[in-house]
């Protein structure tokens, strides 16, 4: 419950609804009280007007002791159903006539029939007064003294109560309540929905923010509104922050990867160097031993075995020690054609089509040999990853600043966790080959001060190589 009440998702619509309800209730109450006040005033005014209209005839009736005339006047058209109670008292303060003859008996002392008369101020305005009293069912008393030639002949009283218009007042209040309820029935859902609409982007934003730090910012998919209002601004800022975070994470990963690969490279170079020296000696010793004299078949076989083993070690070590050898010849368009020709047999055997797009107009300043080896390795890798029914695409474009090579293949996409370790030598998951192809590629690119990236694009895997034409300037 506390979570519900603390959430703006509920508090805002609730506040809107409460505002509507409180406003409606106060409006209804104010209107009801005002109409009650008006009804009371009207009642008093109308009663006084009627009293004045009757006073002349009542004076005559009193003078002539014509009870019936006074009674039929007071009785009026409504008879005993009239809502006002009229009483005429004679000069001796005895009931002379009333439209409630059973309650106010003819000749009865008025103080006995109507005790509240005793509490009323005696000196009344000759034009009539309406006095507020606090009785159970009588709220106001009208008093009009009856005069004949400045001589009092009696008094006319009217007892006014709220009862006649109380049901009208109730109707007004009930009508107000009904209208209010109807309007609220319309307004509340609208208020609730608009409140929800206002709050939903905030809630989405909050949920998204809660995931920052736990989820890789590049993988975060957030529904964020970017309107012109404050929430929209907040959303935009948050989106910008997410982008910056993702960039930073990407950068950090690359730095870690580069450092790791550099360390691996140093280890490999050191090991290779330490191995190469004794290896050269061993190979030379075997040659010397062979040239020493005739060997029997068994020894020759043994020496051949050793020789092959050592040379395999030698080739592996030299593969680890990738050296972009100083090559005078610079890269031309023909080099790309050569690579294509070299992989052609593989293409035919595998059956994987190869799209080849090379846009290179002039010669470049890049050395030909390492770039050729780089592209060859990448294309062979792509063809082997594409497998049966897959396809490989090669895009080479050159600009003033550098050369861009894209090698893409369809087929089984690489799982994301493998992308991080793809360029390390002897990747454990690799099933075939010696496992040094991409390592070699990475080394070449590093030595040419370029950059190599692998990414999964849908079902395809894309390797992108950027080689600067003027590495000195870049650095």
């Amino acid at each position: 419950m506390s979570r519900l009440t603390s959430s703006y998702r509920f508090r805002l619509p609730l506040a809107l609804s409460l505002t509507a309800i409180v406003t409606a209730v106060f409006m209804a109450a104010a209107l009801g009280l005002q109409s009650l006040h008006n009804l009371r005033e009207d009642q008093g005014r109308n009663a006084l007007r009627l009293a004045h209209a009757m006073s002349h005839l009542l004076v005559g009736a009193l003078r002539q002791d014509d009870v019936w005339l006074a009674y039929s006047l007071l009785r009026g058209p409504d008879g005993a159903d009239g809502t006002l109670i009229w009483i005429v008292a004679d000069a001796d303060d005895r009931v002379f006539a009333s439209n409630r003859p059973r309650d106010f008996r003819l000749g009865q002392p008025l103080r006995e029939a109507l005790p509240l008369i005793a509490e009323m101020p005696p000196a009344a305005d000759p034009t009539g007064t309406v006095i507020e009293v606090r009785e159970a069912d009588v709220r106001r008393v009208l008093h009009l003294p009856l005069f004949s030639e400045n001589t009092g002949v009696g008094n006319l009283y009217a007892l006014l109560s709220d009862e006649p218009f109380l049901h009208r007042f109730h109707e007004v209040v009930l009508g107000g309540v009904a209208v209010t309820a109807a309007v609220l029935a319309l307004l509340l859902p609208v208020g609730w929905l608009s409140g929800r609409r206002m709050v939903t982007p905030l809630v989405d934003l909050a949920q998204c923010m809660a995931r920052v730090g736990r989820v890789d910012p590049r993988d975060m998919e957030c529904r964020i509104r970017t309107g012109d209002d404050e929430i929209g601004q907040l959303g935009r800022c948050f989106k910008g922050m997410l982008g910056a975070l993702a960039e930073k994470a990407q950068l950090e990963r690359r730095v870690v990867q580069t450092e790791r690969l550099a360390a691996v490279g140093r280890v490999a170079a050191g090991v290779a160097h330490e191995i190469n020296n004794p290896l050269g000696g061993m190979v030379m010793a075997i040659d010397t031993y062979r040239g020493g004299g005739p060997l029997d078949a068994r020894n020759r076989q043994l020496l051949d075995l050793l020789d092959r083993g050592l040379r395999q070690i030698q080739s592996t070590v030299s593969a680890l020690l990738v050296e972009a050898r100083a090559d005078r010849r610079t890269l031309t368009r023909d080099d790309f054609e050569d690579v294509r020709t070299l992989v052609e047999p593989r293409v035919n055997r595998r059956g994987a089509p190869l799209d080849w797009h090379v846009t290179l107009d002039a010669a470049t300043s890049l050395p030909a040999t390492p770039v050729r080896q780089l592209l060859l390795n990448l294309v062979l890798n792509a063809l082997s990853a594409a497998g049966e029914g897959g396809r490989a695409v090669v895009h080479v474009t050159a600009s003033d600043s550098g050369l861009c090579m894209l090698v893409e293949n369809t087929g089984t996409p690489l799982p994301p966790e493998r992308l991080d370790y793809l360029f390390e030598p002897f990747p454990s998951s690799r099933g075939d080959g010696e496992g040094l192809g991409l390592w070699v590629c990475y080394q070449i690119v590093s030595q040419l001060h370029g950059r190599i990236d692998v990414e999964a694009v849908g079902a395809a895997t894309r390797v992108r190589v950027d080689l600067p034409l003027h590495p000195e300037i870049e650095r």
Partner: protein, 297 residues
Amino acid sequence: MHPCSRRAFMAGLLAAAGAATSPSAVRSAAAANGPRRRAPLRLGVTPVILEDRVGFLNRWGAWLGEHLRTDVELVQRTRYREIVDLLLRGRLDLAWICGYPYVQHRDRLSLIAVPRWRGQPLYRSEIIVPVDSAAAGLSDLRDGLFAWSDPDSNSGWLYPRFKLRSSGQDPDRFFRRTIFTWGHARSVQAVAEGLTDGAAVDSYVRETLLLHEPRLAAAVRVVERSPLFGFPPIVGGPSLAADRLQRVREVLLGQDADAEGRALLADLNLDGFAEASSALYGDIAAMAERIDGRQPA
């Protein structure tokens, strides 16, 4: 709003206004055909029959005028005395009055016809109380509030006073307070609405009221009935010539033979008109002599 209540209210206003302003006359429309006739016949009406029935009176006046071949002017007054005064002074030719004023002035008035109600030219005085009253008779109304209908009414004044006097009571002190309502129907109303504890009324008016205002008439209960008296007659005044009187009598006696006349009678809850002799009012005359002996017989 109840139609009765409005009528009663208007009646009150009319009664009050009538005292000061000119007499309100109900003039029947002159017959559309035929030559202009003699001076109109002026007929006075009192609350011995139901009041405030302008539509009925117009129709009855027209019917009479047609059969009498003269214009008939109907004059209505609330108080019997006014009608009797007008009649005696020759301002009215004939009037429908109570038996009591008739016996008071019978030497100057001549009987024309008497209505038949339930086959007889007779009615009673009745003492009524509210239905929820515990009173069982006139004697239970001692020190109560009582409504007389008119000081010239037999049923609403003479008989109850006679009755009290007969039982050794002073009619002026027996009740705590009395009022005049100037009409039997209003006396019924006064009792029904609790203005008074009892009233003396004309049995014909009360029973006819049962047909027209059943709720009002049902709110009262009859606790005492008088013997039968002669029904309020239609009498001619000193100004009415004998031939005219005879003509009016013929028309009235024949009213129940005429379809339209019968409808009018049915509207009045009457059967027709009969010839009558002053002997019919002997009881009333005897009571009047007893109550106000000084009045000329």
